[in-house]
């Protein structure tokens, strides 16, 4: 029986003095500056204290105290985010989750017939997969213990956690807070689909234990019953885009409470424990197909996702400029790319993973050959590998372009320190893919800007990266970026398909939803966090009530 009312758990506090802390704004700035930055590289973060709690109890104790004193808090885990979510722009206190980094156990949900793992938020994706793939569980880690799930799990084939947002050193807590996705969301969806349960600390210092499926919104709201009274959360009324989306709060009439927190970038509550589904590992083969024209490549994408009898893991795209960069890098340092030379006539490449099985390989390849024939290409213009070692080459190849771009920008920063790359993160619906690609190219060529396009084309979600050569380019680029955002929204898409809003994309959220709808998100936050202490500055601006 689902209900929209949830009762909090109260935790016994521990004396604050027993929790490890580093104090002093100067001290932090000089000796521990890492905590003030994340991969967005924005500056301006500052803090007076960093706490290092060991467990949920300590986290709850700290949050309660900070709320009483109305001190803003920023959560710090792996700091791999690229929109500044972990940067303490509003000062106050940082809570580092580095000590909450253990995998707690594994279990099998007999109703859902799926295996799951319970863990603390600072476990990284690579650590999680290491433990799951190599089955590194202790006997006493079965959830619940009497079912001996560990023993049973060890008898199975290889399992893994399929969400793959490229940066495998990201912390699970962060991926949940951001609803991270990546290439594989084409097949597996985003993190959201894989979260079974979370425990969240709210500003009162109390805990919400939220298994998926237990709490559903009724009459457009949720009620949280705390020790002191009641908190009513009114679900925003806007309609989320149908395309891949990580912008703003999740809102649906009869939504599950867990989905309110997933992707909320830490502004509603702090995750202290999570349970994630895992799945059986299937063999795959990695492929790249080359096309002399971009339009042929886009046609191939459509055939792959609509007409194939098999389901690709993901479909990725590289434009002409991306391939040029790769080709140049190959000449300079062949081992960096570790792939055969890309022909000069090629203007687009599609990278895609397919199921691999000796029984089906001939039919699958023949089908792909058929599609390629319809797109002015052929099986000869492809690369294919299925052994782990070979697939690693493909993965490396896919990540080479972003790496080359980052190095390029780093070089340019030497001349123009204020320069940075402009990368879009927008998605559209299937039927608008060709339109948006044409729009991107047209506008960029008109503006005479240097750019590269690559990304998760299976989800109609490509990253347009403008590479400014000077400050004028940067300004022009920013203007174009806004135009792209508006167009994407017009095409039923999202301004942030996977990176989130954080501290740097507020204006795009407004472009997407408008002031009124963003205000509805603010209301949700004010209900649960009236002093606005939790990760201020994420998703939208709000005044911290000092």
């Amino acid at each position: 029986m689902t209900d929209n009312i949830i009762i909090t758990e109260t935790i016994e506090e521990v004396p604050l003095e027993t929790i490890r802390v580093i104090e002093g704004e100067e001290e932090i700035r000089i000796s521990h500056p890492g905590y003030l930055f994340d991969e967005s590289k924005i500056s301006g973060g500052h803090a007076e204290k960093i706490f290092f709690p060991k467990n949920e109890q300590e986290v709850a104790t700290i949050i309660k105290k900070l709320n009483e004193e109305k001190i803003p808090v920023t959560i710090s885990a792996a700091r791999t985010g690229i929109v500044g979510s972990a940067v303490p722009l509003y000062g106050g206190v940082i809570i580092s989750f580095e000590q909450l980094n253990s995998v707690k156990g594994i279990g099998y949900d007999e109703e859902e017939k799926r295996w799951f793992v319970r863990l603390e938020p600072n476990v990284t994706l690579s650590e999680l997969n290491d433990v799951v793939k190599l089955k590194k569980f202790e006997e006493n880690q079965s959830i619940p213990p009497e079912k001996n799930w560990v023993e049973k799990f060890k008898e199975l084939n290889t399992y893994y956690y399929p969400i793959d947002p490229t940066e495998t050193s990201a912390a699970i807590g962060g991926t949940i807070a951001a609803n991270a996705s990546g290439a594989r969301s084409f097949r597996y969806g985003a993190t959201r689909e894989w979260v079974k349960r979370i425990r969240v600390v709210i500003p009162t210092g109390e805990i919400l234990d939220i298994p998926r499926g237990k709490y559903r919104a009724k009459d457009g709201n949720f009620i949280i019953k705390t020790k002191e009274g009641e908190i009513k959360l009114v679900i925003p009324s806007y309609e989320m885009p149908k395309a891949k989306n990580a912008a703003g709060l999740y809102a649906k009439t009869d939504m599950d409470l867990i989905d309110l927190f997933i992707g909320s970038e830490g502004i509603l509550g702090i995750i202290t424990e999570a349970e994630l589904w895992i799945k059986e590992y299937e063999s795959h083969m990695s492929n790249v197909a080359f096309f002399d024209n971009e339009i042929d490549a886009l046609h191939f994408v459509d055939l792959l996702r609509k007409k194939s009898t098999f389901k690709p893991e993901f479909i990725e795209f590289f434009d002409k400029n991306a391939l040029t960069l790769l080709r140049e890098k190959q000449e300079e340092d062949p081992k960096f790319v570790d792939m055969p030379t890309i022909s000069k006539t090629v203007e687009a490449a599609i990278s895609f993973d397919l199921p691999f099985d000796e029984e089906t390989i001939e039919t699958i390849i023949s089908e792909v050959g058929d599609f390629l024939g319809q797109c002015n290409s052929s099986l000869e213009n492809t690369w294919c590998g299925y052994e782990e070692r070979e697939r690693a080459r493909f993965k490396h190849f896919r990540h080479a372009v972003p790496e080359i771009v980052n190095n390029l920008i780093a070089e340019r920063k030497k001349t123009y320190p204020e320069i940075h790359k402009l990368g879009t993160d927008m998605s559209v619906t299937d039927e608008h893919l060709v339109d948006i690609m044409q729009f991107y190219h047209k506008k960029l060529e008109e503006a005479g800007l240097e750019y590269v396009i690559w990304g998760h084309i299976g989800d109609n979600h490509v990253h347009v990266n403008i590479l400014p050569r000077n400050m004028e380019d940067l300004e022009q680029g920013k203007l174009l970026y806004k135009k792209f955002a508006k167009k994407a929204v017009e095409f039923g898409g999202s301004v942030s398909a996977e990176h989130g809003i954080g501290k740097i994309k507020h204006e795009y959220l407004l472009i997407m939803y408008g002031e009124e709808n963003v205000d509805q998100m603010r209301q949700v936050k004010l209900s649960i966090d009236p002093n606005c202490i939790l990760n201020p500055g994420n998703i939208f601006d709000i005044e911290v009530k000092k």
Binding site: S31, L134, N287, P334, I361, E362, W383, R389, E390
Partner: protein, 266 residues
């Protein structure tokens, strides 16, 4: 012209470890691959095939191993070999270098008696001995050239550029001969989907000890002059201090400096 490439399937060496308690190899989670040096040899054979079309070169891959080694031979076919044979038989189990080279030479004599050239990798990354190719060449009575990085065929001779301690040597010999490759092209091949598909139509046969006339005086544990007495984990190295110097490189440099001073290295 017939070029034989002798290949081996090996576990990814850097992932194999010894269970310190039982002294046995832990192979869980370790993939099996075509030995990288063997891939250089195959690559060279296919390159020669492409470079000398008039010689109508046929590339034949031969390996000795358990049934699963078929996948390494399939990879050879995908990369351009024309046919492949796996010498697989319980009788080969426990073969050391001498016995393995016997099996391979018997296999070669039976399957491709009219070969012109044998290319192999310098060594296998599991055994690391580099012994099987020279011993096979000796059993076949053919000359060997080791540490090759590049080859050329001139009439009935092979000309090899080989690595030496001072640099390089150009060495030639009459065919048939055996050459071991220590280096490949800087760019590794990648088969196309077409080649993956076609490989599955080529000959890949399993050959038994009886097929090649190998008896237990030549192959297997009993025929092996060397025996493994014990396998154990290497002495623990490392375990030293770990410093995170990503945020403060100056501090990290100072810590290294202090360490070096303390240990009298400066």
């Amino acid at each position: 012209m017939k070029i034989i490439v002798l290949v081996k399937q090996v576990p990814e060496a850097d992932k194999v470890a010894v269970n310190p308690e039982t002294g046995t190899l832990i192979r869980e989670g370790v993939a099996s691959i075509l030995n990288p040096f063997c891939e250089y040899a195959l690559d060279e054979a296919v390159r020669l095939k492409e470079e000398y079309p008039e010689k109508e070169i046929e590339v034949i891959a031969i390996s000795m191993g358990p049934p699963q080694a078929k996948s390494a031979l399939m990879r050879c076919l995908e990369l351009g070999a024309d046919r492949a044979y796996l010498l697989s038989d319980r009788k080969f189990a426990g073969s050391d270098v001498w016995a393995t080279s016997n099996a391979l030479s018997l296999g070669v004599k039976k399957l491709v008696p009219d070969f012109d050239l044998i290319l192999t990798g310098k060594q296998a990354i599991d055994g690391d001995t580099a012994q099987v190719p020279p011993e096979t060449a000796e059993h076949l009575g053919i000359p060997q050239i080791t540490y090759g990085v590049n080859t050329k065929i001139e009439n009935k001779k092979i000309v090899v550029k080989r690595e030496t301690e001072e640099g390089y040597q150009i060495v030639s010999t009459r065919l048939p001969a055996l050459v071991t490759m220590s280096k490949g092209s800087n760019i590794r091949r990648m088969p196309s989907m077409k080649q993956i598909l076609e490989a599955r139509k080529k000959t890949l046969e399993i050959v038994s000890a009886e097929d090649i006339g190998a008896d237990d005086t030549k192959v297997g544990l009993n025929a092996s002059p060397t025996q493994v007495a014990k396998v154990f984990a290497p002495p623990e190295k490392g375990g030293g201090e770990i410093i995170d110097g990503r945020e403060e490189p100056k501090l990290a440099a100072k810590k290294i400096f202090d360490f070096l001073i303390a240990n009298n290295f400066i």
